[in-house]
């Protein structure tokens, strides 16, 4: 909202002070949890006890049993299997969002910060404009035009997250450009692109990475919200947000697990990404000092 150059990740103060002093055990636990999630997503076809889309209309909303550890949903599908498969879209979506927004943000931010002048003004205003539209609203607009599914929300969210990275990279690029070591390359007649690729980007990469890691959890939350609204992965595919939506009616009939299990997964994943992202940012801040 201000024109001041950003040179630190925008840290929504999520879990900044939750870390145990020293940052050790909680950080490790978060990394382990994320590792387990990734494994679960990767190995879902091997470890899922049932076909996530196999209906069993004779046993809807069955409670926890040896056969269905987390019970079944209103269509008799195994909740645990759907949870494991749901981890795939649950993680792939934010990964794409973070990847795309990082690439786009680095590109726009570097060009704006390095070129300066009217290019900078134009790109900065553009980023500010996107920043002034809430990401969720942008995604809803996109879905209204492009239809629901995995692709449309991911593209919209990538755009919405680009300003976070772009404004950061722009600030960093301007700051680095003014430093003598880059100036000496310029004086030696190196081309701007070569300097940016070989010297600027490697130097600002860790800070950008920290910002992207922080963004991951939020992207996960936003995308899950979209699929809760029915704008994400379409039925019968397993998806956490959609599972919560479907599980809500089951809740009124006394079956907790179909809605609560994916809820817990989302919160745990977001908390873990928050801790890891803040941890990286803290480590960077300490190294800078």
């Amino acid at each position: 909202m201000t024109a001041a150059a950003l040179t630190e990740p925008t840290r929504r103060p999520l879990l900044r002070r939750l870390r145990a002093p020293g940052g050790g055990p909680l950080f490790t636990a978060a990394v382990l949890l994320l590792g387990a999630l990734v494994l679960a997503a990767a190995l879902a076809p091997l470890i899922a006890p049932h076909d996530p889309e196999a209906l069993d209309l004779r046993a809807p909303l069955a409670g926890s049993s040896a056969d269905h550890l987390l019970g079944t949903d209103q269509s008799g599908r195994d909740v645990l299997s759907r949870l494991l498969y749901g981890a795939r879209t649950g993680l792939l979506g934010p990964l794409l969002v973070v990847g795309l927004s990082t690439v786009l943000g680095i590109l726009l931010g570097t060009v704006a910060g390095w070129r300066g002048g009217w290019v900078d003004t134009l790109l900065s205003r553009l980023l500010d404009l996107v920043f002034s539209v809430p990401g969720l609203l942008l995604a809803i607009m996109f879905v209204a035009v492009g239809g629901p599914g995995l692709t449309t929300p991911v593209i919209a969210m990538s755009l919405a997250y680009t300003p976070y990275v772009g404004r950061l990279v722009r600030g960093l690029a301007r700051q680095e450009k003014a430093r003598p070591y880059l100036e000496s390359y310029r004086v030696q007649g190196w081309s701007g692109w070569t300097i940016c690729l070989r010297h600027l980007l490697p130097n600002i990469a860790p800070t950008v990475l920290a910002q992207s890691a922080i963004n991951f959890g939020y992207a996960l939350m936003d995308l899950a919200g979209l699929s809760f609204l029915g704008f994400g992965a379409q039925p019968p595919a397993a998806d956490w947000g959609a599972m919560i939506n479907e599980g809500e009616s089951a809740l009124q009939r006394g079956a907790m697990l179909p809605a609560l299990a994916p809820s817990v997964c989302i919160v745990l994943a977001v908390v873990a990404f928050g801790i890891v992202g803040e941890g990286i940012a803290d480590r960077l801040a300490r190294r800078e000092r």
């Binding site: 929504r12 999520l14 920043f131 002034s132 809500e248 809740l251 919160v267």
Partner: protein, 317 residues
Amino acid sequence: MTRYLLGRLLGLAAVLLVTSFLVFSAVHLAPGDPVSFLLKGHPATPEARAAIAAQYHLDDPFLVQYLKWLGGALHGDFGRSIQFRQDVTALLGSRLPGTALLIGYAAVLVCVGGVLTGALAALRRGPLDRLVLIGTGVATATPPFVTAIGLVSLFAVQLGWFPGPGSTGTGLAGRLHQLTLPAFALALTLAGLLARVTRSAMLDELAREHVEVARSRGVPERAVIRRHVLRGALGPIVTVGGTTLAGLLVSTSIVETAFNVTGVGQLLVQSVTAKDLPVVQAVTLLIVLGFVLVNLLVDLLAPLIDPRVALAPGDTA
């Protein structure tokens, strides 16, 4: 001051203009013939096609269409809802009070709950502080629809204190009772965020020397907290509080859907699902308008809170 305000209002108008253009173009960006797109799911009689074409001025050049639509929008005419077969403005009018009440309720919860919790944590260090940190950490990582699930299962299904999704209350008290769970679901994430901001802003202030100076001069502790610590922390609290309230405008669509509240947010989701584009356009513009207005308000408050903040024109968006 006037110049600054003028600059800000111009910037605001620019954002709205660009957004309205994008929102309008959306219809034409959609693949296929706009008429059949707008009619999707409804019988495409020649009369209906002609009515749509006339309503959207589809026979005019694109820019002319946009200007005509914009002119209508400025007069509060957003066309007719395809889904509800009703004027969009009237439809919005009937949905707005519910959403306004919900957002107001949640905003009070966020501000009071967030600031009080954060202040308490900052002033009473130790176990309570740690508890607040963990609690707000989890709260900020819990999206509203997850909170909704938790609240419904506990308070509506198990305890039965509050009505579940889909019920309607009568009278203000009944409405508020019905909106309590949605408001808490809407508020929790943002209240956690505001509590954290309040806490760290107050801790920053507590560490400042002028606080110690005030104490060294025999100013009573309550006055030190009020006049120095809270006063100094007000800047960050208002800034984040503003973004938070703006965030409510968007999250409300999720919460209204989860609790089946007949409001603008739910209308937006229904309209997107039904491809009811005139409604989508109107609601989107309304939310963006609310968003930029709240941001403007926060920026105008900033120099009142901290006299060192100079009002600089040209700092828009």
